[in-house]
């Protein structure tokens, strides 16, 4: 399944300041018994949004209805650490996020997010601190130029792994890319046998 192409996103931010937000927070393990990838938005940050008896929490930073126009999640350092569950980006996308910004984002989560069209954006400490201070600010993220800019002129550059970037901008299919090297794979197998 190909993600929606990602080029330029203009939206508002939703800020959670905590560092080390792990994938068990993003989607608790009890929701992983699904055999599909659809409809996981209702489980996104479930225990942050609902009480132990499944009532909406008043103080939750995450609206019950979804991200709305706050499609950019700004979070503390080491976002997405822990389990390799791809259900985490699936849930965030279905909830309505299209990008996550932090000072550092865990490796496996970053890889999973890129494969699904959820853009992981790692920014320098100063930009990160400034964004954490401005919840709800309007932001433009441009993947072509790898820049972000807020309405009050925070500007930053970021890097995205070049192949993943091409996949998102141009709809390149990573599985198709591997399959296109069939000859090399067969040769490797023959040599290893």
């Amino acid at each position: 399944m190909q993600p929606e192409p990602f080029n330029r996103l203009e939206a508002r931010t939703l800020v959670v300041r905590q560092s080390n937000i792990d994938t068990d927070q993003i989607i608790p393990a009890r929701f992983l018994t699904t055999t599909t990838r659809e409809g996981l938005g209702k489980s996104a940050f479930y225990d942050w949004r609902y009480t132990e008896d499944d009532q909406p929490k008043n103080a939750s930073p995450f609206p019950v209805a979804g991200a709305g126009d706050r499609q950019v999640l700004v979070a503390g350092a080491n976002f997405g650490c822990g389990s390799s569950r791809e259900h985490a980006p699936w849930a965030l996308l279905d909830y309505g996020f299209r990008a996550v910004i932090s000072s550092d984002i865990a490796d496996i989560f970053k890889s999973n997010a890129l494969k699904n069209g959820l853009l992981p954006v790692e920014v320098d400490q100063r930009t990160h601190a400034a964004l954490l201070e401005r919840p709800g600010i309007r932001i433009v993220i441009d993947l072509e130029s790898c820049t972000l800019e807020t309405e009050d002129d925070i500007r930053a550059q970021f890097t995205v792994e070049p192949f993943a970037r091409r996949c998102l901008l141009d709809g390149v299919d990573p599985l198709g890319h591997i399959v296109a090297h069939e000859e090399a794979i067969a040769a490797y197998e023959a040599a290893a046998a």
Binding site: D47, S84, D107, P174
Partner: protein, 472 residues
């Protein structure tokens, strides 16, 4: 040019080299799959009409969603939900359709994916191993390049036996000096993570080295490599040596006869060359490590069990302290324990169970404490029962269960109740990981067992002899 273990493993598996535009295409020697992270990958094969390229290099097991209680009077396993049961049947159907060997519910070799791979010697030095599970780093204990992947990548490997990957940076973590008696691999892991941080290994493939690592048993090395991901490193590994070869020899899928000798000769070439360069070098003082526990909601919030809870230094730490209800400057030993879990891919092997049994033998689990002991595999369950460990646990008042991931991920119905303090030999103390509102304290098997007996967080040394563990 001098190469590290990691360089050698990487170089040997490059099908198409990395370029500025594209990651390398790496060949995968062993693909481990389980019920939770594979269904959507099989669905992609279905959509695109692709077969599984190498079912012979794919091994499936059932562990995450499976009950650890035996079948009821109706002969049915007590699944937590219908979805959990459906997920198990889905893997059975996918494996049958694609000709993949499944360690099914009745298979005497079934168990946690990171326990059975090594037990069957599917895990071998020099292999690339992936699994849709972050604790795949465990297999690095054998000098394999092993890392966790997402479900999209599970699909890539099923279809092509290859994966797209940029070469990570390399880090060597050297444990200098010798461990003190009563200190084990879990304590090493927690001390290391506390030192470098939960993201200290991010972007790195880590090699664990030094005399204290060389002295570890294979089971202990697996515990250490298992926890690499808790420092943010997808890969943790140890150079193969005679300890490695002695563990593997004669196991089901190990090479036999002349092939064994040839394999060992190849494996002896794998350790890092003397002058190999690493992007980062970290030193840990092994002799200074004490039995460790965690006191926060990230695995790097770890300290010696005999210590006091620290004062929070920032908002995140303050929130963690509120959740965990540890009072600053008060001894950890004042914290009352509700539940103890001994198991998981981190600490569910024979050495772990023997260590717990040594503490529990002839003693009783404290009133009001529930202790759950879950072996990592059927083979371990049978061996432990042959040694009478299940009787030791039962007489102490602990529950002896069937193998599985159980309370580590708490998706099979085994979990704590809101507010409970759980001392757990698993790998993650995240908020709600072991059930809504559950407060998790990570520890090694002896500390967990000691806490079950004492009814509060407890230093295991009071229950143990002075023999060094993990040295066998």
């Amino acid at each position: 040019m001098a190469r590290s273990l990691f360089d050698k493993l990487w170089d040997a598996h490059v099908v198409v080299p990395e370029s500025e535009d594209s990651p390398a295409i790496l060949f995968i020697d062993l693909h481990l799959i389980h019920e939770v992270t594979s269904p959507q990958a099989f669905a992609v094969l279905e959509e695109r009409g692709l077969p599984v390229r190498r079912p012979d290099l794919t091994q499936a097991t059932l562990d995450h969603s499976t009950p650890t209680l035996p079948p009821g009077p109706d002969g049915r396993l007590p699944y937590a939900t219908e979805d959990a049961e459906k997920q198990v049947h889905q893997l059975e159907a996918n494996c049958a359709k694609h000709g993949i060997d499944l360690l099914g519910l009745d298979d005497p070799r079934r168990g946690i994916v990171h326990v059975v791979g090594p037990e069957l010697a599917l895990t071998q030095p020099g292999k690339t191993i992936v699994c849709g599970d972050s604790h795949t780093s465990t297999h690095g204990a054998f000098g394999a390049l092993a890392f966790g992947i997402g479900t999209t990548e599970v699909g890539h490997v099923l279809a092509t036996q290859c994966i797209l990957q940029r070469k990570p940076k390399s880090m060597r973590i050297t444990f200098e000096g010798e461990l003190s008696p009563g200190v084990g691999a879990k304590d090493m892991a927690l001390a290391m993570i506390a030192q470098i941080g939960a993201d200290g290994g991010q972007g790195y493939a880590v090699e664990f080295a030094g005399p204290a690592v060389e002295a570890l048993s294979m089971e202990a090395r697996m515990t250490l490599c298992n926890m690499a991901i808790e420092a943010g490193a997808r890969v943790g590994m140890v150079a193969p040596d005679d300890t490695t070869f002695a563990y593997l020899e004669g196991r089901e899928r190990a090479p036999q006869g002349e092939a064994w000798d040839a394999a060992v000769a190849r494996w002896r070439e794998l350790p890092s060359d003397r002058d190999a360069q690493f992007d980062s070098e970290v030193r840990v003082d092994a002799a200074a490590i004490r039995p460790m526990i965690t006191f926060g909601v990230s695995p790097d919030a770890a300290a010696p069990v005999t210590g006091n809870a620290p004062r929070p230094a920032n908002d995140s730490e303050r929130e963690a302290a509120e959740y965990m209800r540890f009072a600053a400057d008060r001894p950890f030993a004042e914290a009352k324990v509700d539940r103890v879990f001994i198991g998981s891919c981190t600490n569910s092997r024979m050495a772990d169970l023997r260590e717990a049994a040594e503490v529990m033998r002839g003693r009783k689990v404290a009133d009001g404490v529930i202790a759950l002991i879950v072996p990592g595999s059927e083979a371990i369950r049978q061996q432990a029962e042959a040694e009478g460990l299940h009787t030791v646990f039962a007489e102490a008042g602990a529950e002896w269960r069937m193998p599985g991931c159980s309370m580590c991920i708490a998706m099979n119905g085994d979990q704590g109740a809101p507010g409970e303090l759980v001392v757990s030999t698993s790998n993650r103390n995240f908020v709600g990981r072991q059930g809504k509102g559950v407060r998790t304290v990570l520890a090694g098997p002896a500390t967990a067992a000691a806490s079950a007996i004492a009814g509060h967080i407890a230093d295991p040394s009071q229950y143990l002899g002075t023999e060094a563990r993990d040295a066998a």
